[in-house]
Subunit: 362 residues, 3 copies
């Protein structure tokens, strides 16, 4: 399905390609985006809530040419801000924190060029569409259950996920016999049954693969991998089993930090294939290319299957492990240090120079 | 409280700022300090016990301009060594191994410039003063108990720590009902009740933040983060619960290795604030600035609190993960590869060039 | 024991030292070998099974000057391939995947220069000779048991390993009382009792040390360390003990990924010593130097013993964590970014330039 010009592509028609800037919303992965822009000689405009501006970004004024500071989260993309960004020929880099602050609907109708595919963000916001996209792409995923009863009968551990990208907060792991109880508890807290996602909890090594789909270079690049550290579950491993039992400690999954990782080389056959399948599936589903960064988040089992349980249709925070650095995988494509923040800025610069900015935005 | 000239500041008055050298005690983080000095064109003098010199440092003669090799640990700062260092215009970099070898009293009265704040080392050496400093700084810390009975009644897991920085050796984790028994056992081994530290054992993701307080640039820089791997506790996680039980395996906490890590970006608000609060509290407590490197060691909980259970008032060994490399956080401040060993050498060089050496030593 | 010219040394007599190339078999660590060759200006010839060529290496044509693509694993070193490589003055880099594909016997009689010591690969292929070599070197190893009964009586956890390097697949951890049962199960699956290796399972922090024995520079360099992530065992740590029990989950050890790590600096005394002891023992055992890369794989206990349970007598895949990057340990020897793939290419280039190619091959 091919579609007409997106709102951002429409706006970009009036841009001066020689003076394109990057609009970087504070938090999430803003620091590497700012550093990356500087590495590529692209001017960056920071848009920040005052609280984060004062606490974090005001300490690094050399990383941006201008800061737009607002007093509330929703104002990050208030009309006056958008107006300023348009006048500055700015392309907005969306990330999970921005989506959380302003809502995906705001981004869908935003009259500003958005780096990558804004319609993919809409898919990402719905568990059902998100997992269906992976399945349509022909990517291996964990079993998904349509009801707590079905999950209980499967006899496998089940992870119960909540709607929205909250960095893993509130997720619950349940034994087969407990899954109905856990679902009932969450419903009492106000979640609708249809909003809970029930996935088989696959036991293995987590692997988050970071891709960059370059429309300028005509290839999907694998730029890195990371593993997330989550609280409290990664701390529980250090508490003796008897004590966990005695204190009634249950795992929780708030993302706290990330570590760099590389996969067994033969796994790259699947990793690279998944990255390209995903790009094709996104284009089929939205009518626009999956330009720019995305991530596939999965588990590798003992038989070396790679089961993707989630994706990020934009830059993922795990790429922060490489801020300012060369990454092991980027070194296969690029001579100089290349990390996601810089890769984005380079694509923007090159697309503008070649007059194909429209290709990498929506 | 402002104080007079420290012994090292007094000695430094006679130094030739154009010929300042770095004195690096063997072990701990010596290799990155030596490499860092070389990167900055600062001559380094290694002071080493023969055992480590022969086994490690003699293999890297290109990393130092001179080695002072002694036959016993205490002799590392024997009068003849100190005399040589003074004649060489040397500034001593203190670290945990040096403190263990020569004792903190030796460092307090040492007539040699010590990089950073030697009085902070004295505070670090006392659990009570150490934790009080964190509390005075307004930094969130785990609950501390004044007696095993009080700890037992709190109903939380408790970590029992021993006096002195022994790299975590001998620490014990206790369930509420066992904490009194564990304390009694340790007392039988000769520890005085008042010397044992009883802290709530917070479950979450460990995060060790490395700071550099630059008096030359007037800012506290966040240069990196790491996570420690401890034996046997990080190996126990790979032993099935039933087997741990059957074999009676209990966790122990000897630091063996370190891995690089980055935090969720929004956590930096707290991380940066803690780093600056700490610097102010040190200056209040000692009358001298917290110049140079230090580290805050904590746990991030599932609700994203960052609870600091300990600090290092000097270079921490976890910075070794970045030896010779750019670090993700350093790349926000520095263009070139910058890691703690090099940062120290650069500050020394710049302070000497600007004639403000006195500011960064005691 | 000194031996005559090896088959590869014989072939290399006809090589033009000014036109030496590197032959890199696909998979395992091929990507860093290719990138390393390019960094050093050494032409690389990729030899690949079509499946991996299409899925992985065809995406990186700039990393090699020629690709020899075959349709079956055994054909990787078919006579026609070997002939092509000889004509190209190529030196073959052996790795675990190549050995798995063609068998160690093929490599032993191969009439092509093999980087490093091909006879060490033969020792590596036999558990008994492998562990004996470590013991002969005077390297600390875990207890080894000659029968399940003996292992059971030792009262320690036991890891049961299978013949061949299968990346840890199929290994079993057994409690003392279960070890005889586990061995019996494996025998029913067709393993001969004498082929099973019964080692004490040492609890602690895993540490894989990467060495490069340079005949050009006359030293054993420590170039890096890593830690392996294995499926499912590293995922089990995140499953509550009660749930592991309920679902009957048992650990398995398929290597999936690697992470960078650095050791406590004082441990380097042992790490460096082991690396040199190993080199000497290899030369005693085979009559040829242990030229080039190898790895010692062990556990550090809570009392800081470093017990080596295995070695790799060639490049180990864990070095992939540093592909294209400077490593913390390499920075002690080398100014520029240096990682194992590049180190190999540099040694080859330098040996050829100095006319001592024969020294670094067999």
């Amino acid at each position: 399905m091919a579609r007409g010009r997106s709102p951002g592509q429409e706006v970009a028609r009036g841009y001066d390609p020689g003076r394109v800037r990057l609009a970087v919303p504070a938090s999430h992965s803003a620091l590497q985006l700012l550093r990356g822009a500087r590495d590529e000689g692209v001017e960056a405009i920071l848009i920040a809530h005052r609280r984060y501006y004062d606490a974090i970004y005001s300490r690094f004024p050399w990383l941006y040419s201008r800061a737009v500071v607002v007093e509330s989260w929703r104002d990050l993309l208030a009309p006056s801000v958008v107006e300023q960004l348009r006048e500055a020929n700015a392309v907005l880099v969306p990330h999970a924190s921005l989506i959380e602050y302003v809502g995906v609907e705001t981004l869908l109708s935003l009259e500003l060029p958005v780096l990558g595919n804004r319609y993919l963000l809409e898919i990402e916001a719905s568990w059902d569409r998100k997992l269906s996209l992976l399945e349509d792409a022909g990517i291996d995923t964990p079993r998904r259950f349509s009801s707590p009863r079905e999950a209980a009968e499967a006899g496998v551990p089940v992870i119960v996920k909540l709607p929205g990208a909250k960095g893993g907060r509130g997720y619950r792991l349940a034994a087969p016999r407990d899954v109905e109880k856990v679902a009932a508890e969450l419903e009492k807290q106000g979640y609708r049954p249809g909003d809970l996602v029930l996935q088989e909890y696959v036991v293995g090594v987590r692997l988050y693969s970071h891709y960059f789909n370059s429309l300028v270079h005509g290839r999907v690049e694998l730029l890195g991998m990371d593993i997330r550290l989550e609280s409290n579950v990664d701390g529980l491993a250090r508490v003796p089993p008897r004590l966990q039992e005695e204190l009634g400690l249950e795992p929780s999954y708030t993302v706290v930090a990330n570590m760099p990782i590389v996969a067994r080389e033969s796994l790259l056959a699947r990793v690279l294939d998944y990255g390209e399948r995903f790009a094709r599936a996104v284009e089929r589903a939205t009518g626009y290319p999956a330009a720019g960064p995305y991530s596939l988040e999965g588990i590798v089992t003992e038989s070396l299957e790679y089961k993707i349980f989630e994706f990020s249709g934009r830059i993922v925070a795990g790429t922060n492990v490489y801020t300012g650095l060369q990454t092991p995988y980027a070194s296969l494509y690029w001579e100089d240090p290349m990390y996601m923040g810089r890769r984005i800025a380079r694509e923007l610069r090159e697309a503008a120079e070649k007059g194909i900015l429209e290709k990498i935005i929506t």
